[in-house]
Symmetry: C2
Subunit: 392 residues, 2 copies
Amino acid sequence: MKPIRGYVASGVAAGIKKTGAKDLGLIFSDMPATIAGVFTQNRVTAAPVMLCRKRIASGNARAIVVNSGNANCVTGDGGYRDAVRMSEVVSEALGVSVEEVFVASTGVIGEPLPMEAVTTGIGEAAKALRADGLPAFAEAIMTTDTHPKFESITGDIGGVPVTVAGVAKGVGMIHPNMATMLAFALTDAAAASETLQSFITTAVDKSFNRISIDGDTSTNDTVLLLANGTAQISLDLPEHRPAFQELLNDLFMRLARMIVKDGEGATKFVTVSVKNAPTEASAKAVAEKIAVSNLVKTAIYGEDANWGRIFMAAGNAGVEFDPQKVDISFNDVLMVENGMGRGKEVEAAASAVLKSAEFTITVDLKAGGGEAVYYTSDLTTDYIRINADYRS
Amino acid sequence: MKPIRGYVASGVAAGIKKTGAKDLGLIFSDMPATIAGVFTQNRVTAAPVMLCRKRIASGNARAIVVNSGNANCVTGDGGYRDAVRMSEVVSEALGVSVEEVFVASTGVIGEPLPMEAVTTGIGEAAKALRADGLPAFAEAIMTTDTHPKFESITGDIGGVPVTVAGVAKGVGMIHPNMATMLAFALTDAAAASETLQSFITTAVDKSFNRISIDGDTSTNDTVLLLANGTAQISLDLPEHRPAFQELLNDLFMRLARMIVKDGEGATKFVTVSVKNAPTEASAKAVAEKIAVSNLVKTAIYGEDANWGRIFMAAGNAGVEFDPQKVDISFNDVLMVENGMGRGKEVEAAASAVLKSAEFTITVDLKAGGGEAVYYTSDLTTDYIRINADYRS
């Protein structure tokens, strides 16, 4: 991964995780940056999320500190003070305003942060900051992820090469023990925080919000985007916006894809595409119902071209359509045409599609012009084992 | 099971199921009865559901015919004609108006009914009708159920013993291959169909609607209630209503409980009780989110007193409450008090509760007076196996 101008990062083992793995990550912008963010919609929010929500109003940032191994959630007033303390230690170590330090945590909930380890770890992480430190940061924020997730994309915006780099963690479909989807993106372009907010909201809706597919939103979900302007190009200019939006969408989609592929127990990556719904919102509702259905997901695991379950899930979205017009395809194999199955021969062709590791389920409702895409994996016996035994 | 006055029933093997098991059931009321029903909310509905919805407007019934092994769903106009034909064959065999015959189907979808087998089977079922035939009927409507489900309750209403008998099928949390929750209840009391509708709607909301907990509503879900008046007592009288409502609630709750306990792969029966929510509706929303959460259900399977997942699921219901006031108990073990975990010792006591086959999770939001109860099971590796391999 190519370093991104004006940012340094690190990841260290602070002793929060019992395994001795990396568990504390730090990102620092060499110069003042702007910031925007998207947070969990869960009513129960972790202390660091409350802190970030408060501080992000200023739109200014210099550093992000993240620990794994402990979510600092349902930890009361003491937990909030610990989150503030984390930012104070970063502020002292890096000589920046405490108000410009953002905090995230992920891991077990309901237990107080081991603040001595965290404090020492922040000191070490500050010393370890490097231009090529993002992969180490990505490693330090992992929980049950099997590998670190990071990506960097460079595009031409107004004749200038602009880079946007991102790291993410998450374990696919469902976040064990509220283990949280976290993503952090950095760009060397410049933008007002309001502009960044528009970029991040749009990109999250098309990526991370299309994979959190069992409705179990974590208490700690956080996505942040920083812009420090080292590339000397402003994204506030209307003519530069579409290109950057595309860049950010692409980055987030790549990270989201990594999360689904690394999903707990997952063996398949499936794109659910709904076409010709009454509206875009209703297309999204139908795609989501299909993508989250345990019955659809177990059928995918069983490599069973069970279109009846897809039909049933689509019917559960509360969307108006005529079942007798619906087409359902697995890749280019049309299995259901105008609401009727096309028989055993077609089913054999679809079964071949299901044996591949990646494929697309397309549902054409012929009820309007709304389209939406969702991403899902299969639901496997390994998923159950991982989640039944998570704390033991 | 004690016979219920004025009704006969039967169940026969018609050859619809490849296994040779019973697959066609018939219920007949010796005299004209009134009827009310509740049907699936799924946009995709099976042919027999469409037929029942149409006929139930008259409020009159004499017979119910049900086949298992084939859901007669997504079968187009031919499927609707087959459902009508089933009722015609019953009408001819029993000498009743075709408009008073109700039809239900459950099983594989997208395949035409084998009408020759169905027709012959109806003839045999008509000959087999007996006062003690409800258990055979219950057996004939099974799909992946491991045992037939029936129950009969008698209560005193206005000094007269009134019986309400019921049969149900369903496989717990999730209906494989849209396999449908079906329930049929019969009473010897008399009531106008409007009165019956009020009874059945109330009872279903407190029972079957509190267990269909993964959102995968089947295309064929049907609950019917018949009243034939042989007991010579009218439920239309306001003073008789509460007692009958209680009887029906009790019956449906017993059948619902059987369904959860027979849930695919299930090893635990868990009651989720939410107290002091802002409203009853919000209590139900919170209870449902907890009851359907894959993370909660896998933790129950793992006998892990992971209250963090319960807290998280509660926070996802879109209901206003203060996380710092929430109490969470497993039976009488208070694990979370005012939003904070009570530590390792309490967790050990809760783990003991989780080892039992039945227990209650209570969430007290301290945000109002709304209460609701939901019933769920664990999510197990056997569930995945059953549903991945269903059609193979």
